[in-house]
């Protein structure tokens, strides 16, 4: 037999005490594995390309349109919100990042990979945490890259009409960072829902339903209760990449904090359900 390194099947010493360092190193190994998973499937690249095109492309399109308008009607300049114009693609980009967040976990169940994953690392919470952290780190970096690229390109286009602003403009830096943060948070929301629902289609429907439906439904409420709409996921979350949210809209970080509560809720549901259920769909 050509297998090597066979060690005698001795049971591990009972209640072996492991140092925190070793545990951390093991966790790092699981994160590295999750990073490998993320970078070795095409869906990651497809969704990343779509998100980048959406965020940056819409920034370019929107700002070019404004530049054109201003060049013909200089008086329209007062209507321009240059920061928001360059970050408005975030609304479309969230579809792709959210989809990737769902796929990162739902594809494990859909393909059956989950049984291989959990046979290698049988601690389910460890797997879930490593996956969530790895994906969040990747989407944060990605979000910041596309956010700043969109802002830079948008302002460069507006500057042709001397309408662009710099990052030192009030709200500009926060909104630009906020766009990337929001994308990562939507991705993590998708991950939480994906882990809880496990089926890709069902998870995607739940994610986008959660983002878009409450805002639409809240519109049906009597005017005295319209303030509720500001606490809905899309409304609260988008304030962080809006230049100057006007009341009754929530303040940028307040809104983002509310959005993060939805994310945390989805992750709690994911952990509870992942622990409780059998790991194999059937």
């Amino acid at each position: 037999m050509t297998t090597t390194q066979f060690t005698a099947p001795t049971p591990a010493p009972a209640a072996a005490r492991r140092s925190a360092g070793a545990a951390l190193s093991d966790f790092g190994a699981v994160m590295l594995a999750e990073w490998t998973k993320l970078r070795t499937v095409r869906s990651t690249y497809w969704t990343a390309v779509f998100a980048a095109l959406a965020v940056i492309g819409i920034a370019a399109g929107s700002c070019a349109q404004w530049a054109d308008t201003i060049s013909q009607h200089r008086d329209r300049l007062s209507d321009l919100d240059p920061i928001t114009a360059s970050l408005t693609g975030t609304y479309l980009g969230q579809l792709a990042v959210g989809t990737l967040g769902v796929l990162v976990i739902s594809a494990e169940y859909g393909s059956g990979m989950i049984s291989a994953t959990l046979t290698a690392v049988p601690q389910r919470r460890t797997v879930l945490a490593a996956k969530a952290l790895t994906f969040t780190a990747a989407s944060l970096v990605f979000g910041q890259l596309v956010g700043f690229a969109a802002f830079g390109l948008g302002q460069a286009i507006l500057s042709t009409q001397h309408a662009g602003v710099s990052l030192s403009h009030p709200g500009a830096l926060r909104a630009t960072i906020g766009a990337g943060l929001y994308l990562a948070a939507v991705g993590l929301l998708g991950f939480g829902i994906g882990a809880a629902v496990r089926h890709t289609a069902g998870a995607l429907a739940t994610l986008f339903g959660l983002i878009f439906l409450p805002s639409a439904l809240a519109d049906l409420l009597p005017p005295s209760m319209h303030y509720v709409i500001e606490y809905m996921p899309a409304n609260s979350g988008s304030q962080v990449f809006t230049a100057n949210p006007h009341p009754p809209a929530l303040a940028p970080w307040t809104g983002f904090a509310v959005f993060c509560l939805y994310v945390v809720a989805s992750l709690i549901a994911a952990v509870i359900l992942t622990e409780r259920r059998d790991a194999v769909l059937g």
Binding site: P9, P11, S115, T119, V121, P122
Partner: protein, 349 residues
């Protein structure tokens, strides 16, 4: 070493695994047998912590599998050949599993070599045949060089050459001192691969025994007799201490009188049909017949095979079978007699 104690699992109102207790020892291939739906896969999933038992315990190397760190070094598993993302290459599939247990990259190359997939390491798993997927599953199971291997139906989808390869591999792994548990619903395959058998049906333990003991325990060879005077011969045989029963359908496939479901006809009814005789050899029957001027037309010794012993054991524990399974099951019919046989040696007089 795998130890299963009083393991039970219910799905809704249906009991999938029912107070199962057995131990899988190192240094041997243990065949885990049972009809479809017997609870083999469920039991294996519980061993690996993928499913939670409702009661009872399953331990691998002395502790529940979920208590193991770097678990690929404790047990390797092939549960589902398609337990891989279709879009990932086989190399990357194995790499991410290896990384999660801090296993070096060179081991990925090694296991690909062992299972003969080195040439297609870069190909997407989705393009693999079932046989290749089974090999990839084995490669993943071997990554951590584990002392325990758990394989669910590993020969499914393999061609004859692949089956031989798998059998040799599993036997080799056991010979190295590892614990190898292999499930199958095919007794014939286990007869060639396993040293020990754990047989379950409807979630319950039916047998936990060596392969040889299983055959000897289950088989009662009998002789199918047809002669010029069945009634007289039957009486003579009974006087000689043999047990005589109607044989049910004859070897020619014709349904005989006195088969299942009908009350046994009087002796005379045996003239047309065969009789199954136990407790006496074919030679002795022939001599007895000739001494009394009866002409033997057929004397067929029927050895119960491993397959037959298995069929007999699991007959009442088969969940899914055709309505007319008694007739369809073995071809020779299992009509409550000794005729549940595959290997028939004919002695024609």
């Amino acid at each position: 070493m795998i130890e299963v104690r009083e393991l039970s699992k219910r799905y809704g109102g249906k009991t999938a695994v029912d107070a199962l207790t057995f131990t899988v020892k190192p240094g041997a291939v243990t065949g885990f047998l049972g009809p479809n739906g017997a609870g083999k896969s469920t039991t294996m999933r519980m061993m690996l912590g993928l499913s939670r038992p409702d009661s009872g315990t399953a331990t691998v190397n002395g502790r529940p599998f979920t208590g193991h760190r770097r678990a690929l070094h404790e047990a390797g598993a092939l549960l589902d050949a398609h337990a891989a993302h279709r879009g990932r290459s086989s190399y990357n599939h194995l790499l991410c599993l290896a990384q999660s247990n801090r296993i070096p990259r060179r081991r990925v190359d090694q296991v690909l070599e062992i299972v003969g997939l080195s040439g297609v390491a870069g190909r997407r798993v989705g393009a693999f045949s079932l046989g290749m997927a089974q090999r990839l599953g084995i490669a993943a199971a071997l990554l951590g060089d584990p002392p325990v291997l758990i394989c669910d139906e590993p020969i499914n989808g393999l061609d004859p050459e692949g089956i031989l390869w798998m059998r040799t591999l599993l036997r080799g792994l056991a010979a190295e001192g590892r614990t190898v548990l292999v499930s199958s619903h095919l007794m014939s395959e286990m007869a060639l691969t396993a040293d020990h058998l754990v047989v379950i049906g409807r979630g319950r333990l039916l047998a936990d025994t060596g392969v040889r003991e299983f055959v000897e325990g289950g088989s009662r060879s009998s002789v199918l007799v047809r002669s010029s005077d069945q009634a007289r011969l039957a009486a003579l045989l009974e006087r000689a201490g043999a047990v005589v029963r109607p044989a049910g359908p004859t070897s020619g496939g014709r349904t005989a009188g006195g088969g299942v479901g009908e009350p046994a006809p009087p002796r005379g009814g045996l003239v047309a049909t065969g009789i199954a005789v136990t407790g006496i050899t074919a030679a002795e029957i022939g001599e007895l017949a000739v001494r009394h001027d009866i002409v033997p037309h057929e004397l067929a010794t029927q050895h119960a095979s491993l397959e037959a012993a298995y069929m007999e054991l699991t007959r009442d524990a088969v969940d899914y079978r055709a309505e007319n399974a008694d007739a369809a099951g073995t071809g020779t019919g299992t009509g409550g007699s000794e005729s549940a046989t595959d290997e028939t040696k004919r002695v024609r007089a």
